[in-house]
């Protein structure tokens, strides 16, 4: 299992902030995002947009980063703090 977190606009659009997702093998963020689209619905394609930032265990990573069981994977729009 992994924990998937969504923030801000993504959290509102997909109407969920956190979910547990079956995940056994090491595979990339890209693979995870596509599996989420397949299992959760076409509206999850918003995760595939280039501008969406991904963090694994609170560290920002690229789409080719490996996701392992037990990880916390967050998807969020470009940040707007400060």
């Amino acid at each position: 299992m992994i924990k998937v977190l969504l923030f801000a606009r993504l959290r509102e659009q997909l109407e969920v902030g956190s979910l547990s997702f079956d995940w056994a093998d090491d595979a990339t963020v890209d693979v995870l995002a596509n599996q989420l689209v397949q299992q959760q619905g076409a509206n999850w394609q918003v995760l595939l947009a280039d501008e969406i930032v991904v963090a694994i265990n609170q560290q920002v990573v690229g789409r080719d980063a490996l996701v392992s069981a037990g990880d916390e994977v967050a998807f969020f729009p470009p940040v707007t703090g400060g």
Partner: protein, 177 residues
Amino acid sequence: MSANESLNTSPLINVVIQESTFNLAIECDRLTAMLGDQHLNMGALASFAGNVRAVETNLENTDQDDINAYGEFRALEIEHYPAMTQLSIESIVLKANQRWPFLGCKVIHRVGLLDIADPIVLVLVASSHRKEAFAACEYIIDYLKNAAPFWKKAIFEHGEQWVNAKASDALALDKWA
């Protein structure tokens, strides 16, 4: 430890995420007090304080008729990623300290509902000389705006809109390359 050894010690770093407001003068005094004897080496204290403006222009929806229909801008709501926010800012502060060694730094970022003219963010950098304090302070706020996981939502009289990231904020990092 003698007060002259300041540049050989780790800086004092304090990052706080809070809902409540803050006062610049009080936070300057607190940072000075936290430095203890090291405050005798503090020749400079630079600050950046960001406030909520009365107009928010970078909205997700760019349709002017829709924007007019939202009515008066009332407040900002700030969401964050609690497990990541503090680590992200601390990492930025440590990078700034590698480039411009300083004595201490305090960062406050507010979350939740903020009124117009409310303070949002504070960066204080205490150092021996002004050059390090100014540079580190600007570097920290520039990176915070691009990397720390906060999101602003503009609350209007008749609606709400997420605020888009500004290209100019990303371009501001070029000067630190």
